[in-house]
Amino acid sequence: MVLDLTMSMAILALMGALATIAGCIEDLESDVGSQSNPNSQVQLAPQMNFLHRIYNKAISGEPISNGLSAVTGGVVTTVLLNARFYPLMAIVIGALIAAVIYGIFATTSYAGRVASQARFKQPLYMDIMRYTTPSIIGHNFIVCFCLVAIAYIQYVILGYPFTIPFLALIWGISVGAIGSSVGDVHYGGEREFQNREFGCGLNTALSGRIVRKAESGLRTSLDNVWFCAKFGGPATGIGLGLTVFFSSWPTTIWGYTWTAMLVGVIILAVMTIMNRLVEIQVKNAYGPYKEDKEEKGAVAVAHTH
């Protein structure tokens, strides 16, 4: 389908918005289910005598499990589209089936992981499973809906050469990679070790000694997702939203030319500068942890002369 510039930009904006929601909710899903790298601490805690009430699923690495879910949604959607279903209905049913399958994986994974920790006396809390699993399914449904919708737009409206399931798979892997790199740091680096002083760094010796008390009562994964929704989730959404928007924006405006590539390079340069500005600000704000021995030595020498 050939679109004029205004319509192309509108479609691109819609895709960016969908990607932002998908990225945000994907990270929150990985926090409520405790997946990916920070889950190593949840897994380690019972071995350090820190029994906890946190969900422990980690079906696989985040990109792969989200890719699996998205491709399932994409396949079901394609089948329903071939059966002449209305597109929105097809995407919703596809995402729902994918989310339920994801929920099954989450349940078996939680039960299996906790069962393997029986020797460390970690109990399997049935109330946690009952209350948290629907939340995981709900989050995954939104992620899957957004990703399959992006794949649908790309395939049907923009005319990408790949099919809906393959595009959904690629976006599923990408959203997982971004969620694992961005939002999980907020969960693993801050929320799991919230009892230490803010900004003091995270000593490796603290491994496995996760915080188990909540603002009220014992901490569960639902408390974690409440906290991470304030920053980790939205930041992940920005990451995926920027990716989807800026990877297509130059070619949408300037066509398939070297000018578009040059604009891409300029975007990269701007992002590098922004990262540098953040680096300067945090270095000034928190300062060095150690004194500079060389400079201290030089000052001492200067005083003796």
Binding site: F162, I170, I178, V182, V185, G189, L242, Y256, E279, D292
Partner: protein, 243 residues
């Protein structure tokens, strides 16, 4: 039977080998901190090598395939550039958003544990490393190294896609050719992301890391052999293709 000794076929296999090697080399540039970085205990991005390299490379595959579909006459270099741009923008967005979390969510200054001063900004690194960690966050050198690496990987992915589409399109329908070429490119991405993760042992800070010089030659040789093998397989599977 497909003639493997045909000069055009040999060039295709060589190009696939070259692009696979490009992807393998690219992974070494990307600052991957693995699980320790997810807890702000190591410099780099807080996820695994394979997932990150594949995640960014596949976004590059989407952009390059779209360009190939709409401008079939565009040159090989332009397709590679499209892949490089998509891939680099994905990684830069990830590092920027990740940096925001390190800066304001965990509140740690960015510091590299491998160099005393950042080679680009000349700023001290060692004094900013918090107690009991191997650095944290994404300093400028890691950011630049990551962007360069992602661009190399995306260019490699674009090249494989270009070569395979040129080979498969006359044999089968265009949609099927795109599907086979896309899935095969994804496979080559995964193969060439796994090789470096053995070499670097899960974490590397980028081009300034001493590991880079130590492991790149070995990994590149391995990748050349494995990618050429992938190229042979890519040509062999075309033997069963009928229009």
């Amino acid at each position: 039977m497909v003639a493997l000794v045909d000069p055009t076929t040999l060039i295709d296999i060589l190009l696939i080998g070259l692009s696979g090697t490009l992807i393998c080399l690219a992974v070494h540039f990307i600052p991957v901190g693995g699980a320790p970085a997810a807890m702000a205990q190591a410099t780099g991005i807080g996820t695994g090598t394979v997932e990150l390299a594949a995640g960014s490379g596949l976004v590059g595959l989407i952009t390059s395939s779209y360009m190939y579909a709409h401008e079939p006459a565009s040159s090989m270099v332009l397709i590679m550039a499209a892949g490089a741009m998509g891939s680099a923008i994905m990684l830069a967005s990830t590092m920027l958003a990740g940096g925001l979390i390190y800066a304001y969510g965990v509140a740690v200054p960015f510091a590299s544990a491998q160099v005393k001063r950042d080679p680009i900004t000349r700023q001290r690194q060692d004094t900013y490393i918090s107690k009991g960690t191997q650095g944290q966050g994404i300093p400028t050198i890691c950011f630049v190294s990551g962007v360069v690496g992602a661009a190399l990987g995306g260019a490699g992915g674009g090249l494989i896609y270009f070569v395979l589409m040129g080979y498969y399109t006359p044999l089968i329908a265009a949609t099927s050719a795109a599907a086979v070429a896309g899935v095969f490119t994804m496979g080559v991405f995964y193969v060439n992301s796994v090789i470096p993760s053995y070499g670097v042992g899960g974490t590397i800070e980028g081009v300034h890391d001493p590991k880079f010089r130590r492991v790149v030659p070995k990994d590149v040789v391995t990748s050349v052999i494995v990618s050429m093998l992938c190229g042979v397989v890519a040509i062999l599977i075309a033997g069963g293709m009928t229009p």
